[in-house]
Point group: C2
Chain length 343, copies 2
């Protein structure tokens, strides 16, 4: 039976993860879950972000379910670099998977798009680019200060994530992959991405391809999100584009993500895209759908495609039955989802 | 009288620039304009992108009006790096100014936003960041290939553009500046931007400030574009965010931009955000509004605030009178705009 590590985290993290576990237990009884206390609260209490011993323990699990970590009281970068990105890099989670669907029943912000029309997945590279942490500064706090950030891209790293994107597209109905980059300005990295993309595309004559600059893609995600099937892009572009995709499909309250190591050598990690939302924490008002959809991605990754499909269908039922404007209760949504999933 | 250089460029460039000049001549008779033949066509004919002699001549003008350059037949980067970015960097155009308004009469894609509610300007840094051209690659075309792109940020470069943003905000009604960066991941450059922003903010107690990560800003531009007044951000983030802002306010067909050197030591350059649109080139179907609004920014920069306001008002009249779905004719729009502007 699957052994998962649970990092509920800060703010609304514990509330939404609670519902995700409820749904997991309903569709796949017997999952063994171990809680790990990580995030802003632990940082403030002990000064620790991610002790090596915890990293080692996490490595022994089949997957990690994460709620949300962070709080405005923690300086920027501490938990991001020290915990979230540390896990993505240490566990070589190079596929950062972010599906976006405009669910029937969800009032999206776009006048031009009908529910059901948007169904895309962004395959965001997760272990390279500007997230590598390569950069520094000189003459800090003087008029001569200079600061750099370096985007590192390897053929190894780019090709493997592009390959994953094509494999996913080949299993989908529309079978299309869009590469997004900025080849006209970032010519070195752009060229590497474009050539790796072409090479992998040649192995998939059945998959349609297109290329877009990141600024154009940001625009088309607003004006024509229907056009996308699978989008593959670098770490930072993926960060931005997935928030746009979430915005046009009803907000990050519904957006799930998986940080996946496809080899299985290390555990993959599943987390809602939203943050810890301290303003509504503890009030039972957070929407657990993003966490529950992340749990569905977890099930899928662990080979339980059937259970994953039941959870996804449960979310569809929940969203189709919501009355816009009626406030939701986290616990009740969780109960309903668990109910739908086993019905 | 003002001496301007005109680079009509490729595709729809000459058509839309023709209307911008028509409107300029109407509101400010006697402008001296010199045409420069640059772009994809010249590149194919002569192999030249931007000869030094032309750069020197351009430097002698009060401003540059540019239509659009580029064509799919030119390899990515050649005209971008060799012409557009070359001019921005050579003429130290560090303020890349991109206003977005949801004009009454324009059908925006958002169900949640009413015409007149969005009126923001992005002050995008224009001479640093990932656009510096610092990067390279090793072991090209082998499995060991690595490619880098480096973002270079100086206190000098950041502070001056932040200062410009605050000065603009101080002259606007809402007096608010939003800094957009990714301080939680790009900690070195992010810290420099945040500290420069704080220092300049301290000189402007009358201007409200906020900070947002770029992914959150991309989302809020879709869900709540009304919240922004002046946005200041780095070169690449500005590239992406301004296309989102354009998308939510009716598309890049209406989006103007100025690449401004506020010192006046070199000419500033004004160009529509859209590209050369080869598919509709020569058909008289391109909307010249973005080019005409760019000409209004040019007038403003050269100290003709009154003429600029008349052109902007003319655009307002034109857009308010359009019937959605009725195709437009480039020449006719130009004629109408010139008429409104002098009425
Ligand atoms: C919190 C931050 C480090 C993270 C990222 O930039 O990847 C977040 O924005 C995300 O998208 O998961
Ligand atoms: C053509 C390209 C170099 C340019 C940029 O990236 O700045 C364009 O996208 C723009 O926004 O003006």
């Amino acid at each position: 039976m699957a052994r998962i590590a649970v990092v509920a985290g800060d703010g609304i993290g514990p509330e939404v993860v609670g519902q995700a576990r409820k749904v997991l237990d309903a569709v796949l009884p017997g999952i063994e879950a171990t809680e790990y206390d990580l995030g802003a609260a632990r940082y403030h209490r002990t000064g620790e972000v991610l002790p090596d011993s915890v990293l080692t323990e996490l490595a022994g699990h089949d997957a990690i379910l994460l709620g949300a970590v962070g709080d405005p009281s923690v300086p920027p970068g501490v938990l991001e670099r020290g915990l979230l990105l540390k896990l993505r890099f240490a566990f070589d989670q190079y596929v950062n998977l972010r599906p976006s669907r405009l669910w029937p029943g969800v009032p999206g912000p776009l006048a031009t798009v009908k529910p059901g029309e948007v169904d895309l997945v962004v395959v965001r590279e997760g272990t390279e680019g500007l997230y590598a942490g390569a950069g520094g500064s000189l003459h800090r706090d003087t008029p001569a200060e200079v600061a750099t950030e370096e985007s590192l891209n390897t053929r190894h790293g780019v090709e493997r994530v592009v390959r994953d994107a094509f494999a996913r597209a080949a299993r989908r109905e529309r079978r299309k992959v869009t590469l997004v980059h900025k080849t006209n300005v970032l010519t070195h990295a752009g060229s590497l991405w474009a050539r790796a993309f072409e090479a992998v595309a040649a192995e998939h004559p059945d998959v349609a391809t297109e290329y877009q600059h990141v600024d154009a893609a940001a625009m088309f995600l607003v004006t024509q999100p229907q056009r996308y099937d699978v989008v593959v892009t670098d770490n930072l572009f993926g960060d931005i584009l997935t928030d746009i995709a979430a915005a046009v499909t009803g907000g990050i309250g519904l957006a799930a993500s998986g940080c996946i190591n496809p080899s299985g050598a290390y555990p993959s990690m599943f987390e809602p895209v939203h943050g810890s939302a301290p303003d509504i924490a503890g009030k039972g008002l957070a929407d657990p759908v993003a966490a529950v959809l992340s749990a569905a991605l977890l099930l899928d990754q662990l080979g339980h495609a059937d259970a994953a499909a039941r959870v996804t269908a449960a979310v569809g039922a929940e969203l189709a039955n919501r009355t816009p404007g009626v406030p939701l209760r986290t616990e009740e949504v969780g109960d309903r989802l668990a109910g739908y999933a086993v019905a």
